[in-house]
């Protein structure tokens, strides 16, 4: 068992999510609002998809060391996808291809030399000849789709016996359909991945579908951890500025105006350049490449978090300025309740919805930001599987002949699904918790 720092973070993130859900049990008003959120078909379906992404990220966050020198560290996800992870080819091959995209020199019997594609080592091995491929793919696809959908249906039928799902008026049917679709798709991807490269292979022959799935954890971590890192700063400074006013307010405003004044990309770039220098000069600190990449990932989150808290802090300051003039706050003050208690009892619960909305909105923005940063070369480690790195590669690949589009496609589908689900959920949450500010961020 090997625990990477980011693993700890991922599990902590999920635990805090569970804890958040748990405390809803006591809060009737919040529970009612969440029920409203879930009443939207799109929000519920998005939640199911997001949970699926969380599940993948979790499976990718249990690591242990192995004796295999080529794969010194593996995660549970790697084990589930062993066939894809180890099915290394020499270079590019198209989705579902059984022949390579590159050509090798062959000498014919008559002495002439031709260049031909070669058979892939890990695709279509069970076929006797290439003409069987079409039938085989149809048969296998049907099989795996039915298996996936069937498993999900059984699961749903078992769950449907729970009281929770019987008595409520939520659109469970939508959730069920989403789950069945997801499950069928996953089973199909997994099953087809056993005998083909569903999304082809990349430059050094790695399976692109595998890379795409590995990118889930990176994206989720950058979105989730960074948002979480900004919260303590944003909440404490924002509320303090609005509640205490005076010099505290001046100091906080000065701090976030200064941070905002520095162009965001440059601040991140400078910090990452410095971090890179440090990591390069202290390579001996890390046992494996993966552990170094891991620390760099956390650094990216830290740097993004450093600049990311200002927006929410400004919002909370404005809200606290309003709240402190409320009669119940004034009454509490008159009774001699301490500032700390007033903030804890009267201010915090009343800005909760702003924090919540900021969290979900920031999340999708950060997933997108990761791609841009990696593209510029100041994001996660180039060896780390991430959607930004895949897009970065795609730039040269589009200029090849024939065009290699599958890296770009994999990153696109992964990012689009995650960000769209997050955006749809965020929209609904905003609609319910703060109807006036619909569409504002």
């Amino acid at each position: 068992m090997l625990v990477l720092w980011s693993d700890v973070v991922v599990w902590l993130l999920v635990l805090s999510l569970v804890g958040f859900g748990w405390q809803l049990k006591r809060d009737a008003l919040a529970r009612e609002r969440w029920r409203l959120v879930a009443q939207s078909h799109s929000a519920l379906a998005s939640s199911v998809i997001l949970l699926w992404f969380v599940f993948i990220a979790l499976a990718d966050s249990i690591h242990w060391r192995t004796d295999d020198p080529y794969r010194p560290v593996v995660s549970a996800l790697d084990v589930a996808l062993t066939e894809m992870a180890t099915g290394q080819e020499k270079s590019y091959s198209a989705p579902f291809a059984i022949e390579s995209l590159w050509k090798e020199t062959r000498q014919l019997d008559d002495g002439s030399v031709i260049r031909v594609p070669v058979a892939l080592k890990h695709a279509g091995m069970h076929l006797n000849n290439a003409s069987e491929q079409a039938t085989d793919m149809v048969q296998q696809s049907l099989f795996w789709l039915v298996v996936g959908a069937g498993l999900a249906t059984i699961l749903i039928m078992l769950l449907a016996r729970l009281r929770l799902f019987k008595t409520s008026d939520l659109p469970w049917r939508t959730a069920a359909y989403t789950l069945i679709t997801l499950s069928a798709l996953s089973a199909w991807l997994w099953g087809m991945g056993q005998s083909y490269h569903v999304l082809g292979t990349g430059k050094v022959g790695q399976d692109v579908l595998y890379e795409t799935l590995k990118g889930v954890r990176t994206g989720m971590l950058i979105g989730g951890l960074t948002t979480l890192l900004t919260l303590p700063f944003a909440i404490s400074l924002g509320i303090a500025a609005g509640y205490f006013k005076g010099w505290v307010d001046d100091a906080v405003q000065y701090t976030y105006t200064t941070l905002n004044a520095v162009p965001g990309a440059l601040l991140i770039a400078s910090a990452m350049l410095l971090a890179q220098l440090y990591l390069a000069q202290h390579a001996e600190l890390f046992a494996s490449e993966q552990e170094r990449a891991d620390v760099r990932l956390l650094l990216v989150c830290l740097v993004l978090g450093l600049t990311g808290w200002t927006g929410l802090a400004r919002l909370l300051r404005a809200e606290s300025l309003k709240l402190r003039e409320m009669e119940y706050v004034k009454a509490a003050k008159a009774f001699g309740v301490s500032d700390g208690k007033i903030i804890g009892r009267h201010l915090l619960p009343n800005v909760g919805h702003l924090v919540l909305i900021a969290v979900v909105l920031d999340f999708s923005g950060l997933v997108l930001a990761e791609a841009v940063l990696s593209y510029v070369g100041i994001g996660v480690d180039p060896t780390m599987p991430s959607w930004g790195n895949m897009i970065n590669l795609a730039r040269q690949e589009l200029n090849r002949e024939p065009v290699v589009w599958w890296n770009l496609f994999g990153a696109f589908v992964g990012m689009f699904t995650l960000v769209l689900s997050a955006n749809l959920l965020a929209d609904r949450i905003q609609q319910v918790f703060n109807p006036r500010a619909q569409g504002r961020s």
């Binding site: 350049l273 841009v372 510029v376 589009l398 960000v419 749809l424």
Partner: protein
Amino acid sequence: MTTYIIRRLLWLLPILLMVNLLTFILFFVVNSPDDMARAQLGNKHVTDAAIAAWKAARGYDLPLLWNSEASGWSMLSQTIFWQKSVQLMLFDFGVSDAGRAIGADLAQRAWPSLWLALPSFVLGLVVNITLALLLVMFRGQWLDKLGLVISVIIMSISGLFFIIGGQYVMAKLWHWFPISGYEPDGDLWRFLLLPIMLGVIAGVGSGVRWYRSILLEEADKDFARTARAKGMSQWQVMRKHVLPNGMLPILTGVVAVLPLLFMGSLIMESFFGIPGLGSYTIDAINSQDFAIVRAMVYLGAVLYVFGLILTDIAYAWADPRVRLGDD
């Protein structure tokens, strides 16, 4: 008004000071000139003499804050802080680590950046507001709903995909535009049209939603309802009542980012090979030229502060209820 602006300036000056101090600490204290030299000359097999020569050539061999070897005024001025940071405050950008005059580079590269950024911005604004008006006019109907769905979808696609895909399809496959490049004298628009278009498309999702929410707020107010009740057409209500009132938040938002257009777009410029300030910055980041990075940070901060002042002025100008400096 004048006193207010002077007061604001005095409040904003410390911000520039702080930004400068921050870059000084980041680039000279946390990261010593020795580290910079080593990174530039290749981490391994670097002799001390080579490092010393590299530092001397760029003026990084001085003490940080206090030169005890010099005398009189030179004790302060013959330091890295004075030579680099204080000079930067006075807009003397100095020489890049590669030996070019940064000030001249900035002056030359600001134009391509502006040629790209300003039309993108203006066109984006016009398109976004027009579409938002349309959605608000048909509020709650299928056009509004469809528009919102498309907005969310566009919003969920990384701008990188628009740029990469747009360039591939429209320049490489269809040959409508040159793939990349820039000719200041020749067909400027031929090179700029594609990046401008893609920039507008990439921003239309969040833009339309943002302006729609602003306009919707105005459209819900009493005066708009009254106007409709007295028989004005929906379009007239929009034009005469909703848009003018919505212009205030729109205007103040616009002037805040207007100066920052000078900084150029990092991704767009580097991708389409436009020699503006954005690609200048990216090149500096990639070649780890800290002198340019410092200059760009400071320039960005100055423009941001300038934008803040413009916002205040715009408020006072557009909203007769705001009287600056009377409080």
